[in-house]
Symmetry: C2
């Protein structure tokens, strides 16, 4: 009942929203008799400014000695012109690889009180409750060879899309296990009509499915999935896909509900786990105390469920968030006429009151 | 004023919608005093059934002797279990490569009378008028090495994402030229924060931009683009991107308006041009005479503008289509209560009446 948490606030609004999540965890800790030991680490632009490295060895050490990492957000204009491998994003990619966080879980859920913020018509978005499961440590993100060179006098750039059998197997298993606790449907997304790497993906997913015949499996081409997500998002339950397709499809799925500030995520591996909001560091509103803390608070809820094995505590937080929305409290990003505008601290307080 | 057109109807509804487009071209031919010489060729499943090859040499020859190819659609369940390189899609990929059709142009436009068919709220979709320009002969579709093998006792599949400087240059030029005739804005979509191939893409697009400083250029990561297309589609004018990102992004853009049956496309190279509707072969309604011919008719309009250099004839067709919609004629796919349901032949007649 004791958990070591690495806390990496990062840049922009990162520190503010992490503070909110920690306040909520304090309350849960008392209610459920568990304890958290926090170690703070530098990451992203903040780490570049102090050490020149977006992921300093000390931060990696803290992560590797933890049961879970709670992450804010990284990046900002200040560091936009650095070369690719010195940028804040590189810190994030290195954490994923070093901690072998192969399964990125991104739920997208339409909250009834927020239907009006969606760009989709109410009848299309109402009731949407899907999860994108994105493979996070393989594919063209890490594939070799990669690089740039000159061939026959002209520049050429290349990367390698690659998947190994074991990488596909383990993410497929996570997908089917997840679907068992949900609506028992998995949509595997690939481009098997064109790519050999997708041909293998589809083959291995089919093989793993043999152990989960209680779950429905459908295969969908990534272009068609990009289309169907807009046309009939309700039909999806668990979407499983590779790293680059997952990057695109999960952001598209995130946009459907229209409330980016509400979307949590978890990235898990055999040994480590990592929790972060989907949204970025929002430098334009950083330091103003008006950011929406809900995505980070819901990420902490995912931590309680997955790392701390306290699904009940996760449900408590989710219900408190839903009640706050029903009671018409809104941060600026989700505010609409007729609702009550609150800042980060006030939103956090209202959630805590309902725990 | 004489044009050789290769006509490839393909599978499913292909023959029906191509017939409609040819009827419209007949009328235009008289009105503008131009002549068309049609040669029909087999492609896709229809070609597989007769010759075992989705793109028989005879068909390729017809295409190479033509000024333009008018294409219906390919594919169907019947051929779904063939190996990747024997499938109907392979015929399409080979045509693109053989004719060097490097620029795929896919307009997505919200027609006022059809706003109700969009999954997006009216205020989000109204006024959308964008073009996705997808590079079509490079990238992971054709990159080498590619394949499947066994390494250390496990299966592995891989493909190569690759772009050469000259491939990026020529598509970037098309993008800026197109934007000059439109709202003068280009959004170049890549994943330069992760991929070297995208790093080169961004660099070369910037270089080409130096010759088009009257056009605004913005760069956007593909995941963010997938999100912004839903949130604020009106902000896009010309989107230029690589083959695989373009496959996904153009289908997403196509879904925004909610009327797949309305979307035309053109694929052009230095020497050849190819026109096809975006939608597939729709085997479920094939032979019933109820398919929406508009996407194919608008593809023929793109042919008149690009290959025949008759922009006025293209505008005539576009206006006739708009009038038909204003007059409430609808095929089944876009029908809604209160409008008049017509079949393929009737829709074609109504368009011709308004030419
Ligand atoms: C910042 C970037 C490297 C990252 C990714 O592409 O994985 C981000 O888009 C994400 O989805 O977490
Ligand atoms: C059928 C398939 C090979 C093709 C592609 O991926 O290019 C299709 O999706 C398209 O967009 O024209």
């Amino acid at each position: 009942k004791h958990f070591k948490i690495a806390v990496l606030p990062g840049d922009g609004i990162g520190p503010e929203i992490i503070e909110s999540a920690l306040k909520v965890l304090d309350v849960i800790s008392k209610k459920y008799g568990i304890t958290f030991e926090y170690k703070h680490g530098l990451v992203g632009g903040a780490a570049i400014d102090e050490t020149g490295d977006p992921l300093p060895p000390e931060t990696l050490k803290i992560c590797k000695e933890s049961d879970a990492v709670l992450f804010g957000a990284v990046g900002g204009e200040k560091w936009d012109n650095l070369p690719t491998d010195k940028r804040p994003e590189k810190g994030l990619l290195r954490i994923r690889k070093e901690l072998e966080l192969f399964a990125n879980i991104r739920p997208a859920k339409a909250y009834a009180p927020l239907l009006s913020s969606s760009p989709l018509k109410e009848e299309v978005i109402k009731g949407v409750d899907l999860v994108v499961l994105r493979e996070l440590t393989g594919d063209v993100y890490f594939g070799e060879p990669r690089g740039r060179e000159v061939r026959n006098g002209e520049r050429v750039g290349y990367n390698t899309m690659i998947y190994y059998e074991h990488e596909i197997k383990r993410i497929a298993k996570v997908a089917f296990e997840m679907a068992r606790n949900r609506r028992k449907k998995v949509t595997s997304v690939d481009k098997a009509n064109v790519l050999e790497v997708s041909g293998l993906w589809r083959e291995v997913v089919n093989e793993v499915h043999a152990d989960y015949l209680d779950v429905d499996l459908e295969h969908m081409y990534v272009d068609n999935c990009a289309m169907q997500l807009i046309r009939r998002p309700k039909d999806f339950d668990v979407i499983v896909t590779g790293n680059i397709f997952g990057d695109i499809i999960s952001d598209e799925a995130g946009a459907l509900t229209g409330s980016l500030g509400m979307l949590p995520s978890a990235s898990i591996g055999e040994r480590y786990a990592f929790y972060e909001p989907i949204h970025g560091s929002a430098p334009d509103i950083a330091g103003k105390g008006i950011a929406n803390p809900i995505a980070t608070i819901l990420s902490a809820a995912m931590m309680l469920e997955i790392t701390c094995k306290l699904p009940q505590a996760a449900r408590d937080i989710e219900k408190a968030v839903e009640k706050v929305l029903e009671d018409d409290y809104r941060t600026a990003d989700i505010w609409s006429p007729g609702t009550k505008k609150v800042n980060t601290a006030e939103m956090t307080e209202e959630i805590i009151k309902r725990l």
